[in-house]
Symmetry: C2
Subunit: 374 residues, 2 copies
Amino acid sequence: MSSVFVVNSGSSSLKYQLIDLATGESRLSGLIERIGEPDSFIADHSEGMNVVLAKLGNVDDLVAVGHRVVHGGSEFDGPTLITDEVEREIDALSRLAPLHNPANLLGIRAAKKALPQVPHVAVFDTAFHQSMAPAAYTYAIDKDIAREYKVRRYGFHGTSHKYVSEQAAVMLGKPLGAVRSIILHLGNGASITAVDGGKSVDTSMGLTPLQGLVMGTRSGDIDPAVLVHLNRAAGMSISELDVLLNKQSGLLGLTGMGDMRDVQDAAINGNEEAELALQVWRHRIRHYIGAYFAQLGGLDALVFTAGIGENNALLRRRALAGLEHLGIEIDNDRNELSSRAARVISPAGARVTVMVIPTNEELEIARQVESLVL
Amino acid sequence: MSSVFVVNSGSSSLKYQLIDLATGESRLSGLIERIGEPDSFIADHSEGMNVVLAKLGNVDDLVAVGHRVVHGGSEFDGPTLITDEVEREIDALSRLAPLHNPANLLGIRAAKKALPQVPHVAVFDTAFHQSMAPAAYTYAIDKDIAREYKVRRYGFHGTSHKYVSEQAAVMLGKPLGAVRSIILHLGNGASITAVDGGKSVDTSMGLTPLQGLVMGTRSGDIDPAVLVHLNRAAGMSISELDVLLNKQSGLLGLTGMGDMRDVQDAAINGNEEAELALQVWRHRIRHYIGAYFAQLGGLDALVFTAGIGENNALLRRRALAGLEHLGIEIDNDRNELSSRAARVISPAGARVTVMVIPTNEELEIARQVESLVL
Ligand SMILES: Nc1ncnc2c1ncn2[C@@H]1O[C@H](COP(=O)(O)OP(=O)(O)O)[C@@H](O)[C@H]1O
Ligand SMILES: Nc1ncnc2c1ncn2[C@@H]1O[C@H](COP(=O)(O)OP(=O)(O)O)[C@@H](O)[C@H]1O
């Protein structure tokens, strides 16, 4: 038996899971929060890690620790053994992900100190999207500024998109190389990826996780001139605009509610702002489905995953309504069947196989770690 | 006989055309530049207007003056007689178009003074897109800020998109109400519009003409967080970012060349930056074609217009290559035929009729003015 310990470290939290490699099951999982806050028992990530390891007990079969790292820039396109040099590079990429990479590093350092005897491996949210062609990842801005400040599309949720697109090929019973799919990761954050033969060819998030779909609190796509206009007309500073677009926009900005369940309930009860928010949310999803359908030259599978995508049949149906001319259809009975399993929700014989596949980023991280160290 | 005088006023320029309503032909057209510059003969727009009117001579049959106005906000959805109240509203909308509306007003005031005996009519670039549904024009940001500062998608080039989409229905020999079309206006500025039954249902430009396609000097779509990142990492101010994205981006930013002809020549001669710029340009066009194809539920006509769209067969072919699965095809002989006339360039019997239709915003303005005043 062997296992991988998967760590997802936030600035004041530690999420962890011990994955059994033989079964793919989680033996133990948990979350420590409010690390370092004034009234917290846990002063820093090292203390947090020791608390976690005490719970884990004796893990003789641990082969490695896998760390989720948000931003791997253009440097990392797969799982990477964390050397001192790699730590420095993750640190240097903090300029692109100032909230995430430093927090991820806190977890890496605490875990390395507590578990020095096993390899530590970084798995990046951006890595899967490194296969995008320059046409897809280049923004049309000044090329020298773009190079100097590493401005380009990176894309995120890559571990989830990779896992789900591979599961989709398995469910279709086709070789990965022969499948064109669109993956809709709809959670608190949301992104959509076009996958051709197992490779990400385009994705909706960009330099940061702000671009693309309508999310819980993020705007997704807007005219970049909105920032200039609100600076001039409303006197908002760049920092205020950053907070506005990342924390006070999306469903929350449109309705005052950041959780899709509340928005949906409100819409059903006649709240017009909530209904509009759902329409904007749907409009943006259909926009990207059409764009990626065109770019892929056709489509074999369309897959829903993450909190909203896995759990909400009504919103799945609403997102796809009116796309029948692309061969995209849902079977209502299949769609409404309550299940935690990966499943097909399009009618038998449909041109595009529509599926729900629960994502499992921890398992995907463990598998990537396994492929590197074993 | 009767005629309409069409004025397009910039901050230091006056473009004009006298349109004969019976024939639709231009009797006289011209451009005065460098108004008010230190070494210019012409001190202000009033002087400029007098110079123009002297050239016009005696225009007994003039029925009205039509003014191109860039931003009509949510207030104006069609040609509008310019009263003092309307002038004030155009002025108030300057907050949304600080470079354009004040310049348009200079032309309006000079023309009203010089030609007080005829009605003056404003035709707005935004008006045609006022038919978009809230799902298409609403950005997912804080609803109160959006309302207060009028932040939403407006869209531009509306006069051109309206003219060209109506011509397309005529050429198809179908009633306007039965035609779904995508109009690609590819000039210095560039935008794409989905038109359903004569109504704009979505368009790529947004609050300002910055959003959407890759243009001569504008970036089009980017992650809005690019502004935040460049402010923090490069110390650029909002004003510098405004200039960067509007004047130093697009083809110019990617290649150092802002004119598509130069970019194409360079790409043909092996310049890799130019080749990349064409790939990014094409990628973005195909993205929107796919998105609008999905939203329209199918497509009858796809039309190229404006400088690049009307004149460059190679780029038309390149933009559409690989979209055959959507029924979008080009006939090479038809495409390469050099002509100034509206024409079909798809093969006989193609599912989607691809056309080139020269735009004529002055004629469209004259026709709208005629419909209002006669
Ligand atoms: N049945 C449901 N209907 C609508 N939304 C749901 C449902 N279940 C979960 N969600 C949404 O999914 C989100 C969490 O998605 P998840 O993928 O777990 O999170 P994250 O994006 O934070 O990783 C929650 O914010 C919640 O709004
Ligand atoms: N044959 C051509 N090939 C490529 N680009 C062309 C060609 N002819 C004109 N253009 C481009 O069209 C642009 C002008 O387009 P136009 O629609 O007239 O202008 P605007 O967008 O300024 O109204 C020029 O900047 C030029 O780059």
